[in-house]
Symmetry: C2
Subunit: 323 residues, 2 copies
């Protein structure tokens, strides 16, 4: 079987590809090719050295590009490519083109292929907004308050209808905030959720822009990749009429994250955090749901992380670092 | 001010135009032109005789057509045109083109005009589906189980984001089942909701395909037009972050509708109803929400009908019939 990963050169896309190839099978079939489609080349040389990997560049909103890499042998598509929230808010048309038009083009090309391939869309908690109930469930009403959230919500609805009609075997997995992300800080409001752990572990200072009591909903890269693969392997009949799942996260306060950092790396690491509140970040992060009911995800066999100290230890192991 | 009505040759579009012209103003400004854009010509000769009416035909999914009729003087757009549920299910691509692409093109042309005109989208209870709470509210989660419902839900999300960004001054009004519709039965599952009243009043037999205890959520044409105009005149600040309103309907059982028919037109009319259950219709109608919380619509000054006997009397008066 062939697999296509859009956004395949991204951090999560490359990890997903590595994990799929290490497993060798998906849905019980041997993986013969993983196409990594992105605007840039992947950086993982070991991944690029695998004979089953085909790294290609192209604009995913161009239907002809998608047609080149989706055919009868493509049995699964992981659609990870997206314009992130800050950029989609700054450049509305770009967000519409990549987050909406490309998603639709991808569904159309899969439909035209005629064999209803599995399609996994990653979505985001940004589809929620406004006044939220105390506990958010898969079927809590969407009310996006950003163009990114609106585009993701629309893509979800498209996928659900294409799936209902049998054009694709689709499912939507909404990701919690991924932490600990390797690499550099970015412009996302949630960037600190990795930064306040990653930078101190690397001996660098990091700013925490929110109150220590702020609760976050986190998923480690390793668990995210596991959930993407498990989500792809779920039999569609188990979704009922709503193939959309909030992936289970770990609900932790910033103070609890820092306690875990102390447990793993000591007071010295914790001392590298500077507390400097940023109203803009506090407002965005404060609007995110506090509690989640993920009973349905658990019943479908999807799991998150057990405790944040282990997440930190896994980050260290992945990066070849010691505490 | 100029007003554009898409679907302007339809039954509701023509009634809306007549009411607007009779009122002479919208949002406190004098109406100088009402453009009725549709694939067909309106049939109301009195309406066509009004010097302020411009009836034009064209494909609303063609941006150039919309650009011809939306300019700086267009201060309100009522977007009524749609491919109805049965047809959108039978012809997926046609539904996508009219219910989604045309809605987006309309928003884009309004955005390009630069003055954030008021845009009223009509939507439908078909955006709901699956397991529903006992009482449906404006913020009950959408879970469309038809392509029509999915396309309407997507158009709602688009409008909300265009409104949030200030590209348009938009609002979505979800219409209950309109009854009593004049004219002929159609292929809609809800067709009987007009037919079991209209045909007996016209001396014809009519089939009721559902159990008498079945509850419907109805709005008369007159109240629908009133609500569309009132909905257009609401100050956007009053919507908060969710400019989507379920219009207040009248919750009546089929038995109650027939009791009202008896009250207005006697046993003779009621005797023209044949009871012949149709599983397909029962399934669709049975999936619709039973109870609605419309406190928000009422607080915004939107009203439905008081009792169904008056709705029947208004139908008779409109059609120049006597009971």
């Amino acid at each position: 079987m062939k697999i296509l990963i859009t956004g395949g050169a991204g951090f999560l896309g490359q990890r997903l590809a590595s994990q799929l190839l290490a497993g060798n099978t998906l849905n019980g079939k041997t993986i013969t090719e993983v196409v990594l489609l992105d605007v840039a080349r992947p950086t993982n040389e070991r991944l690029l050295g695998d004979a089953r990997v085909r790294a290609v560049t192209g604009d995913i909103s161009d239907r002809a590009v998608l047609e080149r890499y989706i055919d009868k042998d493509t049995e699964a598509v992981f659609h990870l490519a997206a314009i992130v929230s800050g950029q989609a808010e700054a450049d509305f048309d770009l967000g519409m083109r990549i987050n909406l038009d490309a998603s639709r083009a991808l569904l159309e090309v899969c439909r035209a292929a005629g064999h209803a391939p599995r399609v996994v869309f990653t979505s985001s908690v940004a589809v929620y907004g406004g006044a939220l109930p105390d506990v958010v469930r898969d079927d809590t009403a969407l009310n996006p308050q950003s163009s990114y959230g609106a585009q993701k919500a629309i893509a979800e609805l498209l996928l659900c209808d294409y799936a209902r009609r049998g054009f694709v075997d689709g499912r939507v997995l909404r990701l919690p905030t991924i932490s600990v992300r390797p690499g550099k800080p970015n412009a996302a409001a949630s960037s600190f959720a990795s930064g306040i752990i990653r930078e101190p572990l690397n001996g660098e200072r990091s700013v925490c822009p929110v109150d220590g009591a702020t609760r976050l909903w986190l998923l480690s890269p390793k668990s995210a990749v596991k959930a993407l693969i498990a989500g792809c392997e779920i039999d569609r009949a188990k979704f009922g009429n709503r193939p959309v799942i909030n992936l289970p996260g770990l609900s932790v306060s910033v103070n609890e994250m820092i306690a875990a950092l102390r447990e793993v790396a000591g007071d010295e690491a914790v001392a590298r955090i500077d507390w400097q509140r940023d109203e803009r970040v506090e407002k965005i992060v404060g609007s995110w749901p506090g509690q989640w009911d993920v009973a349905r995800a658990h019943a479908l066999g999807l799991a998150g992380d057990e405790n944040f100290a282990d997440v930190i230890r896994a980050y260290l192991a992945d990066e070849g670092l010691s505490a």
